[in-house]
């Protein structure tokens, strides 16, 4: 299934801090640190409320000077890796 059609939200157990345009996420159970680049941090901030991957891409497209294809690629990678690390969780539609 296309990951961009699924809805995601932050895992409440993740502590985070944005530092200028970058950021850090820490899974409080595992104690691992995940540095975020500006696009990754923006996606994390947008996931304050549950969003689909497509909504995420749409919002990024309005903010970053990049093609939709590139942003879709970045969002897919972000959602896949963050789900795998339990930083975000898939929401029921």
């Amino acid at each position: 299934m296309d990951i961009l059609k699924q809805t995601f939200a932050r895992n409440e157990e993740v502590a985070w801090r944005s530092v200028v345009d970058q950021g850090l996420l820490v899974h409080s159970r595992q104690g691992l640190v995940y540095p975020m680049n500006p696009v990754g941090m923006r996606m994390w901030l947008l996931l304050e409320k549950p969003l689909t991957g497509e909504q995420l891409v749409q919002q990024l497209y309005s903010e970053f000077d990049a093609s939709k294809e590139k942003l879709s690629e970045d969002a897919s990678l972000f959602l896949t890796q963050c789900s795998k690390e339990d930083l975000i969780r898939q929401e029921a539609d």
Partner: protein, 270 residues
């Protein structure tokens, strides 16, 4: 009940347990840190087979209470009584238990435990050298030892606020050297993220860079999101108050001349 009191980072920490081997081990292995004074904080350690009973508890982190839950440890700190209850499974060694508990207490008190080496100068100021395994902490410590300098630690530095700045303290959580020179602390003169280099070279970090570097070199004893956020606050405060650098170094005693020349000071002096 057996008890012993340790002085760590200027705090007298009483360790109490029904398990008499704990106090005996601490007295034997960490005698430089044992004091005969009344404790400021008391750790009450209880060994259990399983921590399943604590699974459903939601951790608090506020003015009165700080709680952290890990697989093999339940830590319940009460700021009113200054007592920390530690329920631990038998798989956890006393060194690991104390490192975790001290790390959490430091975060509660505005500091943290950093993976690094700290060298104290005659002027009472401390140079902090931090980095991941293999970055050169033990090398810097050995160079300090060879030239008669005071090594506070070559592995785990206790950091706590000190006026408008921060102090680095010795801890009993040793690294490769297996010992510390003295159980002391000193105001931090600089924080250097170390790398093996082709020459001695200090490059200033912005406070943002220092924050990002430090966060990735701490001992994380998470288990409670609010504890991690408090920890972020503490590192941010230190990053604003202390000068940070990237320090590429050559492993010779010349590093002390280089540092003293750079700072036009007598830092890390014998």
């Amino acid at each position: 009940m057996a008890s012993v009191t340790l002085s760590i980072a200027g705090l007298n920490i009483g360790i109490e347990s029904e398990d008499k081997s704990i106090a005996a081990n601490i007295s034997k292995n960490w005698h430089k840190f044992v004091v005969k004074e009344n404790p400021d904080w008391t750790f009450c350690i209880e060994r259990v087979r399983s921590l399943r009973a604590f699974d459903a508890i939601l951790c608090r982190w506020d003015q009165e209470r700080f709680q952290v839950k890990r697989k093999a440890v339940w830590l319940d700190g009460d700021a009113t009584t200054q007592q920390i209850k530690l329920v631990v499974s038998y798989v956890y060694g006393i060194g690991d238990i104390l490192r975790l508990a001290v790390g959490i207490l430091l975060v509660y008190l505005g500091g943290f435990l950093l993976h690094g080496a700290a060298i104290l100068g005659k002027d009472g100021k401390t140079g902090v050298f931090y980095g991941k395994s293999g970055s050169g902490k033990s090398t810097v410590s050995k160079l300090a030892e060879k030239t008669g300098r005071i090594i506070l630690t070559d592995e785990s530095i206790a950091i706590l606020p000190f006026g408008s700045s921060f102090k680095a303290w010795a801890t009993p959580f040793y690294g490769e050297l297996g010992r510390v020179s003295k159980n002391l602390g000193g105001e931090i003169a600089f924080m250097a993220r170390i790398y093996h280099g082709q020459e001695n070279q200090l490059t200033p970090f912005s406070s943002r860079e220092l924050f990002l570097e430090l966060v990735q070199n701490v001992f994380f004893f998470a288990g409670n999101r609010f504890a991690v956020e408090r920890f972020f606050d503490n590192v941010e405060a230190l990053s604003q108050a202390v000068n940070g650098y990237r320090f590429d170094f050559l492993p010779t005693a010349e590093i002390w001349n280089y540092l003293n020349g750079y700072f036009e000071a007598n830092l890390c002096s014998k």
